[in-house]
């Protein structure tokens, strides 16, 4: 029989207080300080007065910064959609693999987490740059094709021109999808794995094709998993700054890059704090939307 916390208050308190204290000390308190900064004014190179001004927020909602917010939303949204498109079949395949294969496949998905994000991004640079592995492979294929054409008496293809794969917005999207794919696959997998297989069998028995079964049975059943996958992909992608910094070109700046520069080069913590909190409010809105989706799908059951 299940117990509620009321029946074992002491045990509950013993378990709950350490994490709550941790959260208070290392999350709530620093966040409150930054939140207070967002209503502050610089009075010197190292001093900030808490004047309760809204000037920082007024500046943060100027068109310049709103456009950057908008662009970051588009980039994060596109990343999430691509992660979903790539991740869903992968999660489906893992969920239907044999138990032995399943653990290996899950390990492969989680393996990148064992390496620092920065190292992975540099590895991606080595793969994508003009003298990188993608271009080496393409050049090899090109030269072979060219040789083959000469062999059969056609004009050779000419010199191989390396593709520019880095330092543009596509590179940023590729980098973000690469980094965030596991965030999408894992919740999708756990939703698909718990799904009642007999419903799929019923659908197939009753004459629906595979695609129809996936779209009309599997996807609705996995909706909560999709929603949480979308959320935990979208939020970190929205705050990405390392990837646009390292892989992006001259118009790839995202809002987190602007925030970083406020805390460093511009030495303007109040304005940086205001931008951060605007980003946070967007995140809260996204979480609220996810909760809404979850509740609706629970009601449907």
């Amino acid at each position: 029989m299940e117990q509620t916390w009321r029946q074992a208050k002491a045990a509950f308190a013993a378990i709950a207080i350490p994490p709550l204290a941790w959260l208070l000390l290392f999350f709530i308190v620093p966040m409150t300080v930054i939140w207070a900064y967002s209503f502050g004014e610089n009075t010197g190179p190292t001093t900030i007065d808490f004047t309760g001004t809204f000037a920082n927020y007024m500046r943060a909602v100027e068109p310049l910064y709103l456009e950057i917010f908008g662009k970051s939303l588009v980039v994060a949204g596109l990343t999430t959609v691509l992660c979903l498109i790539v991740g869903f079949p992968v999660a489906l395949a893992i969920a239907f693999a044999s138990p032995r294969m399943k653990s290996w496949l899950l390990l492969l998905i989680m393996l990148p987490f064992w390496t620092n994000l920065l190292i992975r991004t540099y590895a991606l640079i080595a793969v994508l740059r003009e003298q990188g592995y993608v271009n080496f492979t393409l050049e090899w294929l090109w030269n072979n094709a060219s040789g083959l054409m000469t062999f059969v008496g056609l004009q050779p293809l000419g010199e191989y021109e390396p593709l520019t794969l880095l330092y543009n917005n596509s590179a940023v999207i590729i980098g973000l999808v690469y980094v965030h794919l596991p965030f999408m696959v894992l919740p999708l997998y756990s939703a698909l794995d718990r799904m009642d297989r007999s419903l799929m069998e019923a659908s197939l028995d009753l004459g629906a094709g595979h695609m129809r079964t996936i779209l009309l049975v599997v996807v609705p059943l996995a909706a909560p998993g999709i929603a949480s996958g979308v959320l935990i992909t979208f939020i970190p992608a929205l705050g990405a700054y390392l990837t646009p910094d390292l892989l992006g070109g001259t118009d790839s700046q995202m809002i987190a890059n602007v925030i970083e520069r406020q805390f460093k080069r511009a030495n303007d913590w109040p304005f940086g704090a205001a931008l951060s909190f605007l980003l946070m409010y967007l995140t809260f809105a996204a979480i609220a939307m996810q909760a809404l989706v979850q509740r609706r799908s629970e009601r449907r059951r």
Partner: protein
Amino acid sequence: MAKGKYRRGASRRSLLQQFGAAAIGVSFAGGLAACGQGAGGRRVNFYNWDTYIGPTTLADFEAATGVPVQMSLFATNDELFARLRAGNPGFDVIVPSNEFVTRMSQAQMIQELDHAQIPNMSNLLPEFQDAAFDPGRRYSMPYTWLVLGIAYRKAAMRNGEVPNSWRYLFDSPQYSQRIALLSESADLIRLCAKYKGISLNNIPDATLTEIEQMLIRQKPHIKAFHEDDGQDLLASGEVDVVLEYNGDIAQLMSSEGGDAFDFVVPQEGTLINSDCLCIPTGAPHVAEAHAFINYLLDAEAGQKITEEIQYPTPNAAVAARMGPEYQNNPVIFPPAELMAKSEYGAFEGDERARLYEEIFTRINAA
């Protein structure tokens, strides 16, 4: 400005810089975990750029004085500033660049030096005995100096021309999509002012607008704003012309295959920087810090450092001991007439820094 020997591995500076960026949250806490020191005991906690010291310098100092040196590393002046902003976490000697010497002295983050404890100050070249950014050298001793210029791949230049004007970077489609610029707002804007033939300090507002428009116009031709890893972009074939520091390129050119590249200070003149030794306010070992600074200005110790890091030295006694391949290297020591046209960037207040940053944000967003 990243320091570091190119041949030791391509991306250490930028790696460290990004790690630093990732760890900014840790900097808020301000703990000196890396240094693991107590207040007691004779020692020096030295906060330096990466690979910016001789291979045996710290051990030699300990052998000579019995005082151990604990060195930790930073990657940008901003990181150094952010680390000390909330109070000195225990450093004794730091190495800010000239602008930050002014900024930190104004914010009382560094303390006055006792020149009587630094007799080796007499080794410095006369022009480095005093400095506009630190009148009377009250707060700082020069460690190195460096200039920004254009590094280029010789084979990619049309008819062997030398890109000896800022025009090639800021105002010309000639090397379209083969250009990388440093993503330092103030440095960029100041060099554009130099290109326009005016001083890089006190740039009038009207000129700032022109500069912003010029860079937005040039943006389609620029491949990337780099995080001071321009030498890597050049070496890996991503770009052909890049805005970089002379020291970084001198290292690239002295590495294998380095003769494919060259470095030029444009005819309009450039921005000079100088990295300086300072003692932060609240340093726990002030006497040892003075002794350490004095040791770094010593002729023999300085020679070992300069041989390793290949940066221009402000130290006459050190320069005299170096070989001709260093003394006559035009990358390390640009021609005198170009140096005469070049300037130090003065610290013009935080408001100015924020204005430059907003201009750079607008250029990026355009």
